[in-house]
Symmetry: C2
Subunit: 380 residues, 2 copies
Amino acid sequence: MNNFSFQNPTKLIMGRGTIAELGKEIPAGKKVMITFGGGSVKKNGVYDQVKAALKDFRTVEFWGIEPNPAIETLRKAIALGKEEKVDFLLAVGGGSVIDGTKLISAGLLYEGDAWDLVKKGSSALTVPLATVLTLPATGSEMNNGAVISCHETKEKYPFYANFPVFSILDPQVTFTLPAHQIACGIADTFVHVIEQYLTKTGESRLMDRWAESILQTLVEIAPKIRENKEDYQLMADFMMSATMALNGFIAMGVSQDWSTHMIGHELTALAGLTHGHTLAIVLPGTMQVLRKEKGDKIIQMGERVFGVTEGTHDERIDETIRRTEAFFRSLGLTTRLGEEHIGMEIVDEIERRFTERDVHFGEDGLVDGKTAKEILMKVL
Amino acid sequence: MNNFSFQNPTKLIMGRGTIAELGKEIPAGKKVMITFGGGSVKKNGVYDQVKAALKDFRTVEFWGIEPNPAIETLRKAIALGKEEKVDFLLAVGGGSVIDGTKLISAGLLYEGDAWDLVKKGSSALTVPLATVLTLPATGSEMNNGAVISCHETKEKYPFYANFPVFSILDPQVTFTLPAHQIACGIADTFVHVIEQYLTKTGESRLMDRWAESILQTLVEIAPKIRENKEDYQLMADFMMSATMALNGFIAMGVSQDWSTHMIGHELTALAGLTHGHTLAIVLPGTMQVLRKEKGDKIIQMGERVFGVTEGTHDERIDETIRRTEAFFRSLGLTTRLGEEHIGMEIVDEIERRFTERDVHFGEDGLVDGKTAKEILMKVL
């Protein structure tokens, strides 16, 4: 076990009808800016539930935070929030709306351009924010991270600010999600776990098992969700898995990787692919290229998550990678760059960017531009 | 999944040499009362590490919080703390020292006798407290619960107050613990999980697996710890398991029981048995008497924790109960009341007390005085 420090102050309120509790959780007298994505919440009833719960508050609405929230949009939200002197933020949406709202919460108390904060990587000074989650995937509802894009420069970077004060998760709101969004959410959750798990063996028996528990749960529920995405218990299991996959609970004392995510962010920035989908493409490549370093852990994963117990060391690694890719395909996702018409020019650009930034991702710092290219070459 | 609300603000600082971080974590200028148990911390170096870390703080020491902390002792600590006008508490010890210090933290801001607070069951007004844990067992270092005894009346009740602001866990401090204390700590941890797990099936796939992960880890490490209790990784796994067993992480959206604990508390109050040890005796009785209601979950536990997959429904339940008792015996603990010279007079007194208080413990409220007696009759 590595030394660690853990703290997560977010209050999680989960279950049927919990959006109605909003009014009790926000301190009286606050002026609330509610942030939204594209408008699906008006169709599935979430908007009406939120407005009813906040009837005693002064509210301002900001609409249009897009997937992979862009600084260009968030600047407008920050300007509106400053003008309206809001002192509480409520993000109603998926990870993109929540991520974007984290930058807004820092931007409201910053004089300059909020892209400075993204470039700096973090901000300690923020307006309190809470969330109503509508799409299980990123875990942003219970962590202090965000990922912000810049359309102008095609850049996408992580940014760390504040934990939501509280987050409300009603599994019923997921019943109307499109199948592709659910698939991407499951892939995102799966790879969040992998980034905190598929590193070294023997660091923590309990963290290993907790990580495997989420993977096992996803593998168990994914085909059932494909059959019936209005099963409350299934969607509750999915929603809880997504939140627990990235709230620090499985990261205590263990090494972390995140190179698959960093390559995935570039694929989104350069080719516009949905985040979870990029991970489904990149991960099998990461496993192939780092099969020597991660081999023992891949074998542990294969045995405990997919029941792979036969064969030589190398055969078990191969079979586990094959099962991982097959799992993503079973979600209905493609797993090869070619299937998404992504070719060498983008691979080369990612190598160039990583090399220019002199990055060394992964638990051993092995993933630089050259290795990222190798990884992508495995999944052409 | 049942609706739930979860929040745990405690900062967990874990690893080698982490006691040295104490000085950074307590706000400057605080006057700190440090509370201790019997003095083992002077032999194992913890006392010296704590004092060195707090050299820039004004401190007062209170010694002698006993196992099953008693109101008679805690009143003295509260009087000292009021006299010295302390405004921060640091509990250095195991669950008893931490539990006792939670009552002190409420008692310091209460005008009357602190036993009133215990009878009331909770207190919202408290002085901030932090902990340095020396004995993994109760989970008190990361929850807001405590159990307080009264010697005069031989009573013992749960009390809820504040979460520690932070808790420091250095697995190295456990190397000098006596084998019996480790055994009781493992039994306590095991049964904490059971109380949040061995109820109904199908409420949460993930919470079930997280609970089973702790049980699997304990079953795996217990015999290894018997062989070598100075193995850092083993003791880190034990310490983390104990904390995660009772910090709310495995309780989200699932039913809870706690009847084994309530019967166990009476055995401690009436016969002086160590808390963890009482649970090892009571649990097999609880499983026998409630085998119909808990049957499906007992079978799930048998399969996933002990690998019991053969036999009829009833045979699998029997085998799982047998394995559970055998696990406790493998720790070096007795599992029958007769082995501890506890006879019918105490069983009858527990029945009388539960009936008088009109209690209905357990996930379905089935454990009253009569059922408690049945449970104890199974483990005579």
